[in-house]
Structures are given as C-alpha cells and as structure tokens.
C-alpha cells in the first residue's frame, strides 16, 4: 500500500471541489423551489432558507400555471418522437450492416454527405413550412430530431461487429431477411438501441428549438420552452423595474419558477442510472473511435 502523499491529497481536494462546483447550482435550485416565498423576498435565494414550503409544487400541480400542459406536450413528443426515431434509425442501420446488400456503402455515403454539408437553418425552416410542419404537434416531432445519421452509424457499427456466421447459419436454416433482422439482429442489438434511444429521448425532452422556430400557439409549447418564456418575461420586467422603477402586477413567484425548473429535470433524474450506463458508453465509443 502506497503512502497517502501530498499529491494524492491535492488530487482528492481538486476533484472534490470541482464536484461541489458542479453540484451547488443544482442544490440551490432545489432548495429555493422548496423555500417559503416570504423568506426569499426578505433574504434572497439562500442555501439556508428561514422556512421550507411545498407551496410552489402545490401551485403547479393544482394547475395554477400552464406548466402541466407543457409537461404533457413534452411527454407526448418525447415518447412518440423517440419511438419513431429509434424505429427509422434502427431499421436503416440494419440494412447498412447487411452484407448481402450490394449498395450499402453507396447508401452510407448518401447519409454521410448530409452530416458534412448542412445548408443551415433557413432552408430547413423553408422545408418545414412547405410541408406544413408549422404550428402543430408534428412540428415538434418530425423536423430536426427524427433521424440522425450519427446514431444510425452507431447502431450499424454494432451490428456489423456481430459475427457473420449468425446470418449464414440462419439462412441455411431457412430464415429469411425479415426473420434474421427482427429475431436475431435487433434482439442482439438492444444495448446500442438503448443508448441511441436515450440520445433521442434526451434530445426530445430538452428540445425547445423546434418550438421557438416552428410553433406560435401557446397551447403547444413544450415545458422547456414555457420555462424559457417564463424567464425572459420575468427578467425583462425585473431589469426594467430596476432601471426605471416601473411597477407591474404580481409576478410568478420565485419558488414557482425554480420548482418548474426542478420538475423539468424530473425524468432525467429518474433515468439517471440508465443514462450513466448506456449514454456515457455510447458517447465514449462515438467520440473516441468515431
């Protein structure tokens, strides 16, 4: 056993400090969301509020704001979007990994080109408008997130690494292409499918880009975008008040704001063990080897 040296101690100290630096803002948000509104007004945000309260959460869950509706929209978009995206991506990946398909490399190139050359936001916006993907729920699902060549190549690489003997022996036993895909390749690829599913799921849940560009109807705002709107309104009014002394009506309370942020993180916290297991692995494989 080596001696516990000064260097080791400094490393422990630094890593601990960095972890605290990462953790504190989340902790503060959590504590403020459970703080009593009056103590926030008196003492500001604090790690040690005078009084705790669940008032903010009660307000949100009783429908005191439109957060719950945004939550429902986000949930729907995330579930449907992730399933669809995973289906399209996984099926395409299978074909690209199928060595019987002669033009698979040509098709890989077809997808790869779009990863290198992107025309940018404006053409994408025009196409969405042309397809009537505007101001409806499909505008939150179909553009931008539904299919990502990078994810497809991730699955394809995994499937290509499976032994060829699998396909050969199954073919000899009389299995057709569909059977091989659905009964052999997809079940074996579940880990990588889980990884890509989490990539998509997180992207859908955290997305507000589609909403900001393609949705005007307030009833369709996902929770992330509602949160953004809530903040920019409040901040603008605050800054104006501070600069020019303009007084306005009552603002959404501080604790409700933070509570909204916290419940937005909810699903991520619930899925965190899986994120740690599959997401990180996929990211490491993608960036080190890809």
């Amino acid at each position: 056993m080596k001696k516990f040296s000064m260097g080791t101690f400094l490393i422990y100290l630094f890593v601990t400090l960095f972890s605290i630096f990462c953790f504190l803002p989340m902790l503060l948000t959590l504590i403020v969301s459970f703080s009593d509104e009056m103590s926030i007004m008196r003492k500001g945000y604090s790690f040690f509020p005078e009084k705790f309260s669940v008032q903010a959460y009660r307000l949100i869950f009783q429908g005191g704001s439109n957060v719950m509706q945004g939550y429902a929209i986000s949930t729907f978009v995330t579930v449907v979007g992730t399933l669809l995206a995973l289906l399209i991506t996984g099926l395409a990946a299978y074909t690209l990994s199928n060595k019987n398909v002669k033009y698979r490399n040509a098709m890989s190139l077809y997808f790869f080109v779009t990863m290198v050359f992107s025309a940018g936001v404006v053409p994408w916006y025009m196409i969405c408008r042309a397809l009537k993907l505007y101001d409806n729920i499909f505008a939150l699902i179909i553009p931008n997130l539904l299919f990502n060549p990078f994810n497809m190549f991730l699955i394809k690489n995994f499937m290509s690494s499976l032994p060829d003997a699998l396909r050969e022996s199954a073919t000899i036993d009389g299995a057709n292409d569909a059977y091989i895909a659905l009964r052999i390749y997809f079940p074996l690829s579940l880990p990588v499918m889980a990884t890509v599913g989490l990539f998509y799921g997180l992207a859908y849940w955290n997305d507000w880009w589609n909403a900001i560009i393609l949705v005007d109807n307030r009833n369709l705002y996902p929770v992330q975008f509602l949160l953004l709107q809530l903040k920019s309104q409040i901040q603008m009014i605050r800054d104006l008040q501070y600069l020019g002394g303009i007084t306005t009506g009552p603002l959404p309370s501080e604790s409700v704001k933070m509570a909204t942020a916290i419940i937005t993180i909810g699903p991520i916290v619930l899925l965190y063990p899986y994120l740690q297991k599959y997401f990180v692995k996929g990211l490491v494989v993608g960036s080190v080897k890809g």
Binding site: V15, F23, P25, L91, Q224, M236, Y242, L283
Partner: protein, 320 residues
C-alpha cells in the same frame, strides 16, 4: 465478403452482373426498411440545398425560390457593411476559442486526476455528479445561473452586500459575460469530456506503465511521458472537430442564457443568434441565408485548415 458468405460463387457472379433492380429484388426487406430514412434524408437534407440560392435573392414567400427577384450579392453587402458583421463573427470565434481551450485543458486535467485515484467509490460518485449537468437543457441551466446572478435575490449580490459592497446588475454588464459563459460551459461540459478522455487513458496498455515503473519513473514522470503523449491523438481529434465548428456558435446556450437582452449583445451576440433574429424576428430569410452561407464557407475552410495544420505537424491526429 462480396455478395455475402452464404452465397455460392455462381450467385455472387449473378449479383455482380446485375444492377440495383436485381439487388433490390434479392433484398426486398432490407431495401424496404431503409426507405423511411432515405426519404427523410432526401427531404430534409438534399431538398434543402437549392434553398441556398435564396441568399442571392430577395426571397418572397408567395413567389417561392423560382419567382423571387435576384439581387446578386446585395444581401452579403448589407451584412458586411453593417456594424454587426465583425461583432458577431468575432464573438462566435472568440467565445468558441475560449470554450475549446478552457474546456479541453480542464477535462484532460480532471481525466488524469480521476485515473490516479484508486478509491473506486469516490471516483464513481464524483463522476456521477460531474456528468449530471450535461443532461440538462440550457434553459434549466439559465435558471441556475439566474439564482446566482440575479440582481435582486442572487446569491452573489447577497454576498457582495454582506461584505458591504453594492449590488451589481450583472445582466447589464457585457464585459463580464464571456467569463460567465466560459464558467457555465465548463460547468456543463467538462465532466463528460473528462470521461471521454478517461476512456482514452484507461485504453492505454498497463504494461507500458509497469515497464516505466520498473525503470524507476515516478507517477508524475509517467503522466508526463506516457499518459499525456498517448492521449494526445484523442485530444487532437476532439480539438480539431471543435475548431472545424468554430464558426458555429451554441445557439441553445446563448439564447437561453442571454435571450433578447440587447445590452449584452456586444460581447455575446453570435452568428447563430443573429441568423435566428434575421429569420424569425425581422423576417428576412434571404439575409439570414446569406449570413448562414458565409458561416458555412468559413467553417469549411476552418475544417480543411485545421486538418492541414495537424497533418503537417502531428500526423496521427489528422482526420483524413
């Protein structure tokens, strides 16, 4: 493995002689299931390329791409003669440069440190904490930032007041924002990058360290002469990818943290937020497209340039 291992020589010849139609007939199912992805990519990527032309038009939504008036380089002129052109270009490159330098260095340092620590429970737990911010959206992060920097209730102002100072309205001080943005970027991204580099370090052959150890190298020498040189290819590739994207700002970050706060634009407004405003707030798609095209063109040169430099001085790190 041409034509697949399950086929005889004769079959292989047959496939090679016939074209796409024959191949589709042989692999109906495979071609059928890739169809959605092919169509999706065709519509959302390939069909988008012609729209680049509207950068040279005065685009009219009713008349479309074929009916709109051609104006040559007017849109580019308008942008390059404006005060905003140097501002947003500089901010985009400068901020990304700061993010790349600070983020990479810190991530490498943390990765090396984590690799030195032998207490598995400690490493696992600190990693879990460090990675968590990565999964949050910038909108949520903006709330956390606000809880520290808010003028009225923010912790930082409370601390300043406690020491007898005056409150600072951070949201009207452009000069401090590059630093704040760098801090937030580190907060959100350093953990995940450290884990990626850690994977590269754990991939190093343990025997190299053992051999060095037998030869009398201490931990510090091992880090300096083995670990760092051996993870340099990974670091270079990731930096290279980042430099290739240096013209592309992080819209999500800037818009969530800064929003439409014009006071902060001098140091925080980037090409992407400017394009967004030109498209959605001002409603001039041709102008937006012109800037976007300028961004892509310079970005493309950046990828080539950075790769050329790397190949010249550090061949293992080059991408192609």
């Amino acid at each position: 493995m041409r034509g697949g291992g399950c086929l005889t020589m004769q079959d292989t010849k047959l496939i090679r002689r016939n074209g796409l139609i024959k191949d589709i007939r042989r692999n109906k199912f495979s071609y059928l299931i890739i169809l959605p992805a092919l169509i999706y990519t065709f519509i959302f990527s390939y069909c988008s390329y012609p729209y680049i032309l509207i950068a040279f038009q005065k685009y009219n939504y009713e008349k479309g791409i074929f009916g709109s008036e051609w104006v040559g380089l007017k849109n580019f002129e308008f942008f390059f003669l404006s005060r905003k052109a140097p501002e947003v270009t500089w901010n985009t490159i400068y901020l990304n440069f700061l993010f790349i330098i600070t983020g990479t260095m810190l991530a490498v340092v943390i990765a090396i440190m984590l690799n030195e620590l032998k207490c598995r429970i400690f490493v696992k737990n600190t990693q879990s904490i460090m990675l968590f911010p990565n999964y949050l959206s910038w909108v949520v992060v903006s709330y956390m930032l606000y809880s520290f920097f808010s003028t009225e209730h923010g912790i930082i102002n409370k601390v300043i007041e406690a020491f007898g100072g005056n409150r600072v309205n951070w949201y009207i001080q452009p000069n401090v924002w590059p630093a704040i943005l760098v801090l937030m970027r580190i907060w959100k991204g350093a953990g995940i990058n450290a884990v990626i580099f850690l994977a590269a370090i754990t991939g190093i052959d343990e025997f190299i360290f053992q051999a060095a150890s037998i030869d009398g190298a201490n931990r510090w020498q091992q880090i300096w002469h083995i670990t760092i040189p051996l993870i340099m290819p990974t670091v270079t590739i990731m930096t290279l990818l980042a430099i290739g994207k240096i013209m592309y700002g992080d819209f999500g970050m800037i818009y969530a943290l800064i929003g439409d706060n014009g006071v902060l634009y001098p140091t925080t407004d980037i090409i992407d937020t400017y394009v967004f405003r030109a498209l959605r707030k001002i409603g001039d798609p041709s102008h937006a497209m012109a800037i976007s095209l300028f961004q892509s063109a310079v970005g493309f040169l950046m990828v080539y340039g950075s790769n050329w430099v790397t190949r010249k001085f550090f061949s293992e790190g080059a991408l192609y």
